[in-house]
């Protein structure tokens, strides 16, 4: 069950309560998120939609511990992250979050294999175990034959699949995807969405995804709209 009224049960994986985010632009305050509530249970696939500038990326950044809210709280798997800072938050991200960005954000000087290995460098896994995990992840996204390719030698769709492999390789608590198909052609977008769908259905991954693409949103179990700083359930919602 996904809820946006702040009345979810305490067992929900993600609990957001009265979240405010205000940016200071010069002397002007921009209230992007205003008293936003959200409850997401384990294994759900949620799509966030909304017009440009409505705060979707802002919300995802807050959920992923990349930024701190002005007010309110975010609890993930029992950990309240809004009070963590610096290195602690970094360690939390390494353990719990897998990011997928619109622009893939692979490191250009590292191969596909090395990019996917990065999150594992923050675990206790030894070299051999890391190799095994990376190979499994790249196999999952259908790129076992591109281990030694650099990002510039891959197509956009392939890059995004490598980045998905990187997001799942350390088995995080949830995936945060910000317009994962935003920069892809229709065919590649379809492949990426099929992949996310499979991660949700087959592997029970919890996925929170921002998208402008209704076709992509269709694949999610729940579609939420961000309007005036709050989430509302959309037509496709469950």
């Amino acid at each position: 069950m996904v809820r946006v009224d702040g009345k979810g049960n305490t067992g929900a994986l993600v609990q957001v309560r009265s979240l405010d985010k205000t940016y200071q632009r010069g002397s002007q305050e921009v209230h992007v998120l205003r008293g936003l509530n959200l409850d997401v249970e384990r294994g759900e696939f949620v799509a966030f939609m909304g017009p440009s500038g409505s705060g979707k990326t802002t919300l995802l950044n807050l959920l992923g511990g990349l930024d701190l809210p002005s007010r309110g709280s975010i609890t993930v798997d029992g950990d309240e992250i809004t009070h963590l800072s610096g290195p602690k938050l970094a360690a939390w991200r390494a353990r719990h979050v897998g990011f997928v960005f619109q622009m893939y954000n692979l490191l250009p000087v590292l191969t596909a294999f090395q990019n996917v290995e990065l999150p594992l460098l923050l675990t206790r896994l030894g070299k051999a175990d890391r190799r095994r995990h990376v190979e499994i992840a790249l196999d999952l996204v259908g790129l076992s034959d591109r281990l030694d390719h650099y990002p510039r030698q891959l197509s956009g769709g392939q890059e995004q699949r490598v980045s998905i492999a990187r997001a799942v390789v350390a088995d995080p608590t949830f995936l945060l995807c910000d317009e994962p198909t935003g920069d892809l052609d229709r065919k590649s977008a379809g492949e990426v969405m099929a992949l996310l769908e499979r991660l949700s259905a087959e592997f029970g991954k919890t996925i929170l995804m921002v998208t402008h693409d209704p076709r992509a949103a269709e694949r999610a179990g729940t579609v939420l709209h961000l309007e005036k700083g709050e989430l509302v359930e959309g037509q496709g919602g469950s």
Binding site: N61, L66, A94, R95, V97, M103, L107, V109
Partner: protein, 390 residues
């Protein structure tokens, strides 16, 4: 674990063109630094190596150089009989009473007069100074106005080739030999017969500037020294020849070193700014990469380390290049005035492995300071903002 070094090295390579300025800046400083230190070292080693561990030099008590010193013939005889003095096969003590005169010769490189040391020596000089070898011609004969020129003196001054007849001290001399002491200070000297030199400069015949003795072993020095100080007829001091020459190198080599540090320091500030600039633009250009690493969970400290490492890799490249540029200086001969003897000394630059290591350390030092602030900035980059950058 930290951000892999591979990332650092590959990033340096990927941005090699913009790193080049920082590399060249650091290379320049290191080259100058190593060359100056090699000069100071060469100057010092030249003098230190003039002394043999087997020899002791006796001068008048309180004298700091041979030129201020007077030792009489009578004293020389007592010194020759002292404990610890080696003897030749026929039982003669191996001592060389020597007179030093400083006089001006025409210096080819500067086309002006420069001061040179002319050393009056005894017959046994070559046996006492066993590092000195006649490489052309022969040794001088006692009682004659003959000269043996050090190979550097012969090159430095006009009229000191084999067979030349230079004029100084009011008489004409003949160069009958060229000597080579393997790069020591003797190579910058001109040797004459001690008695003839005293006559020429109207000095008493029975007076020396110093007496150099060959010891039976380096360990015999203390016995020799105490024998001299115990003798009431003597008011002389004995030094190990090495120590004596090492002291002569102090002022000038220290001056070259201080100058070297000063120049390197000033240039170094420029190079540190070069490294700073390069690293700063690297951080700006790669802020989205940094934000990605941070998003993946790498800690701020890891980012600092990664970018410091990057700065150090750049400076190491600069350091290696600088060392390479300084290497050809090794063995290059030049000459400078040694204030302590008031005479020109030829010496070779010495680029040693130790100096190169210092050069590299200096490069890394510059890289560290140039990279520190940009690295901290990288770690402090607000992740959410940096991720929005294209």
């Amino acid at each position: 674990m930290s951000i892999p070094l591979l990332y650092t090295i590959r990033s340096v390579r990927a941005r090699w063109a913009s790193n080049l300025i920082a590399v060249l800046g650091i290379a320049g400083v290191v080259a100058v630094f190593v060359a100056m230190m090699a000069m100071a070292r060469g100057f010092q080693r030249t003098l230190v190596e003039s002394g043999s561990p087997m020899n002791a030099i006796v001068t008048r008590g309180g004298a700091t150089t041979e030129m201020e010193s007077v030792v009489t013939l009578e004293q020389e005889k007592i010194i020759a009989d002292a404990a610890g003095v080696a003897r030749s096969a026929d039982g003669r003590p191996l001592v060389s009473g020597e007179v030093v005169v400083v006089t001006a010769f025409h210096h080819k490189r500067t086309n002006s007069d420069a001061l040179a040391q002319v050393r009056g020596v005894s017959e046994d000089a070559l046996r006492v100074h066993d590092g000195v070898h006649i490489v052309r011609g022969r040794f001088l004969r006692p009682g004659l106005a003959e000269l043996v020129a050090g190979k550097n003196a012969s090159d430095m001054y006009t009229g000191f080739q084999l067979g030349d007849t230079p004029r100084f001290g009011g008489r004409t001399w003949t160069v009958v030999g060229i000597m080579d002491s393997g790069g020591s200070a003797f190579d910058s000297e001109v040797w004459a017969d001690a008695v003839v030199l005293n006559q020429t400069y109207k000095r008493p015949a029975d007076i020396f500037s110093s007496v150099t003795v060959r010891l039976t072993s380096p360990a015999a020095f203390s016995a020799f020294k105490s024998a001299l100080s115990a003798d009431p007829r003597l008011t002389v001091q004995a030094d190990r020849e090495r120590d004596y020459y090492a002291k002569q190198s102090g002022a000038v080599s220290t001056m070259i070193r201080v100058l070297g540090f000063l120049v390197a320091f000033i240039m170094g500030i420029g190079a540190v700014f070069g490294a700073f600039n390069t690293m700063y633009s690297a951080v700006s250009a790669r802020s989205r990469e940094i934000a990605t690493l941070r998003a993946l969970g790498f800690r701020p400290g890891s980012v600092v380390l990664a970018f410091l490492a990057e700065s150090m890799v750049i400076s190491l490249a600069g350091g290696l290049l600088g060392c390479l540029a300084a290497l050809p200086f090794n063995g290059l001969t030049t000459d400078a005035l040694n204030w302590q003897t008031f005479s020109q000394l030829a010496f070779a630059f010495r680029v040693t492995p130790g100096l190169l290591a210092w050069g590299l350390a200096f490069a890394l030092f510059m890289g560290f300071w140039g990279g520190l602030l940009p690295s901290i900035r990288a770690a402090r980059l607000p992740i959410a903002t940096a991720l929005r950058e294209l």
